[in-house]
């Protein structure tokens, strides 16, 4: 156990303002780090670009969900009203996309939402019940009034002293702390 404890997870750098961490994120991106993340109490406009994140592929899950939902709704109503148990209601045709539309539309929204949520879970490898950062007392302020960058030890460019110096001197972090795994 003790050998596990001494293994570093990464370096946690604390910042006091959104502008500071924005600037620091640009420097981390330009330094070529790949396994790192930013933790802030609220979303910061432009942070995706500052971190150099590419466009999220979640939209494709949403699209597939919506597409499936729409045609499921149409097929379901066609099957029930025209094929399996033909029934005339209010003198209307047995099937028309018109009355099938509200249901198909709701199905589109429902399955789009499922696609978005579960696609996001899948891409983020969630659910995951533990992260070494949770043990850090200081990190709890990331939901209050502090901003954090964590560069993981697994990053190929990670070097304990070099990265610490980079975060302190280049990124102007107020505190840099080692987080153990």
């Amino acid at each position: 156990m003790s050998s596990n404890r001494s293994k570093p997870h990464g370096l946690l750098a604390e910042f006091h303002t959104a502008a500071d961490i924005f600037e620091a994120a640009i420097r981390c991106r330009d330094a070529g780090f790949t396994k790192w993340d930013v933790y802030t109490p609220f979303p910061i406009h432009g942070m995706d670009e500052a971190m150099g994140l590419r466009k999220s592929p979640v939209g494709w899950f949403t699209f597939c969900g919506g597409f499936t939902g729409f045609f499921t709704g149409m097929t379901m109503i066609w099957y029930m009203n025209k094929f399996d148990y033909p029934l005339v209601v209010g003198g209307k045709p047995l099937f028309t996309p018109l009355f099938a539309f509200p249901v198909s539309y709701e199905m589109t929204i429902l399955l789009s939402a499922f696609g978005t949520l579960f696609g996001m879970f899948f891409l983020n490898k969630l659910p995951r019940f533990h992260n070494p950062l949770f043990k850090n007392e200081r990190f709890k302020k990331s939901t209050d009034d502090r901003f954090f960058i964590c560069i993981e030890a697994a990053d190929p460019k990670f070097g304990l002293e070099a990265t610490r110096a980079f975060l302190t001197e280049k990124c102007h972090a107020s505190v840099v702390e080692l987080v153990e795994d």
Partner: protein, 433 residues
């Protein structure tokens, strides 16, 4: 001196346009009276069906009146859409749109006096019996008109249309005047005033725009019922305004033009997203109107769509369904497309065409029940009126600073958006502060 002469020229241009329409009105007056008499004699049997006037000739006053109304409703869309976006900016206390607000303020200010002046020929056409059939129908002979005569009577029409346009225009002008006053002293009181006006004004806006499109457009077939008609016109209006604003501000943000330093990808993306949202909103509203009428199948309502499924109107309807919704919807689904001008410029031209077709679909079946029938007046009046208003917009826009110089939210609109590309950090400094 320069701006004075520009204003004078605009007035002369407008006067010439009104005079030209007036001259044509005078020439066609006899035809108008004949048609009016025809209407009156058939008024009683008009319920629930299109007025079958037979062929309406291309040079008849009736044709010109309807083409003029179609062009007017299109241009009115851009003005009320801009007014809505200005009000929405203040209601939400928005930051991102501060840098493009002067454009919407100016476009909305065209309502008064210009849109009011342009509304006068419509009133003239209606009184001479060339537009709204109920001007010449005795309510005692027409039950549908009798129950609606509080609103649909010539005096109310003549009074309400100018007053509504005037009040909407005054609201736009007040907000712009306060914004311009803020350019000089930077006081926050001007923003507070606009916000208060917007809070009450949005209710008046909703009622005013609904009444205007009921009076001007929906009452062409006064028997029709639809509580969604106002929001339907509103949705199409804001849709068209957003893409117009998108292209206009893009042009104004090119190097050397006035919005260069305050307009970024964020504004472009957000306008694109709003345009996309209103693509869906419009479809939702129009489908709901159609679906409720179709499902309830009450003749007082269905006749309106039955007429629009005759002959080529059916295909016009399909064009609206696919061209106004599916095509832009599928194109705009992609996030990055909203910043791709090679796509957005054609989409903008397409949206203008679709909104014009939508107005045509509402207005023209009344005189051409047999199918779509375009005349030279349609493009002439549509593009002519748009060009005239575009010119008036430009001369008014140039009188004031191109964006609200000292708006408290301007800073939010312009910071944090230009993230340097990888490798440029050294030169970046602390611009983000």
């Amino acid at each position: 001196m320069n701006s004075l002469s520009r204003t004078t020229r605009s007035w002369m241009f407008l006067a010439a346009a009104v005079a030209a329409v007036g001259a044509v009105s005078a020439l066609g007056a006899d035809a108008g009276h004949a048609a009016a008499a025809h209407d009156a004699s058939h008024g009683a049997s008009a319920h629930g069906a299109a007025h079958a006037h037979g062929h309406v000739s291309a040079f008849s006053l009736k044709q010109i009146a309807h083409s003029y109304l179609t062009a007017y409703m299109f241009c009115l869309s851009l003005c009320v859409g801009s007014l809505f976006l200005t009000l929405a900016h203040h209601l939400f206390d928005a930051g991102w749109s501060a840098s493009i607000r002067r454009v919407t303020e100016t476009m909305a200010s065209l309502l008064f006096p210009w849109m009011l002046i342009l509304a006068l020929p419509i009133i003239g056409f209606a009184w001479t019996g060339n537009l709204h059939a109920w001007f010449k129908i005795d309510p005692a002979t027409d039950h549908a008109l009798d129950v609606k005569k509080v609103l649909f009577n010539p005096k109310a029409f003549t009074l309400m249309v100018p007053v509504l346009v005037f009040l909407l225009g005054s609201m736009a002008r007040s907000i712009r005047a306060w914004s311009v006053a803020q350019d000089k002293d930077g006081a926050a009181i001007w923003t507070t005033k606009s916000r208060k006006l917007a809070a009450g004004g949005i209710f008046f806006f909703a009622i005013g725009v609904t009444l205007l499109c009921f009076l001007l457009m929906k009452s062409l077939q006064h028997q029709f019922f639809s509580t969604m008609y106002g929001v339907y016109y509103f949705a199409g209006s804001v849709w068209t305004t957003l893409i117009t604003l998108y292209l206009l501000t893009m042009w104004l943000a090119q190097p050397g033009r006035p919005l260069e330093k305050v307009y970024f990808k964020r504004q472009q993306q957000d306008l694109g997203v709003l345009f996309f949202a209103f693509t869906v909103f419009y479809a939702y509203i129009h489908f709901s109107q159609y679906f409720l009428i179709w499902n309830a199948a009450i003749p007082e309502e269905t006749f309106w769509y039955v007429l629009r499924e005759v002959g080529s109107w059916k295909w016009v309807g399909m064009t609206i369904l696919f061209g106004h919704f599916f095509v832009p919807f599928l194109i705009l689904l992609n996030q990055d497309i909203k910043r791709n001008l090679a796509v957005m410029i054609p989409v903008g031209a397409w949206a203008w065409l679709m909104h014009y077709i939508d107005m045509t679909y509402n207005i023209m079946p009344v005189i051409h029940p047999e199918g779509l029938h375009l005349t030279l007046w349609d493009p002439l009046l549509w593009l002519g009126m748009s060009a005239l208003l575009g010119r008036l917009f430009w001369s008014e826009y140039r009188k004031n600073p191109a964006y609200p110089l000292k708006d408290p939210r301007l800073q939010e609109a312009i910071i944090h958006h230009e993230v340097p590309a990888p490798g440029a950090a050294a030169a970046h400094g602390h611009a983000a502060h």
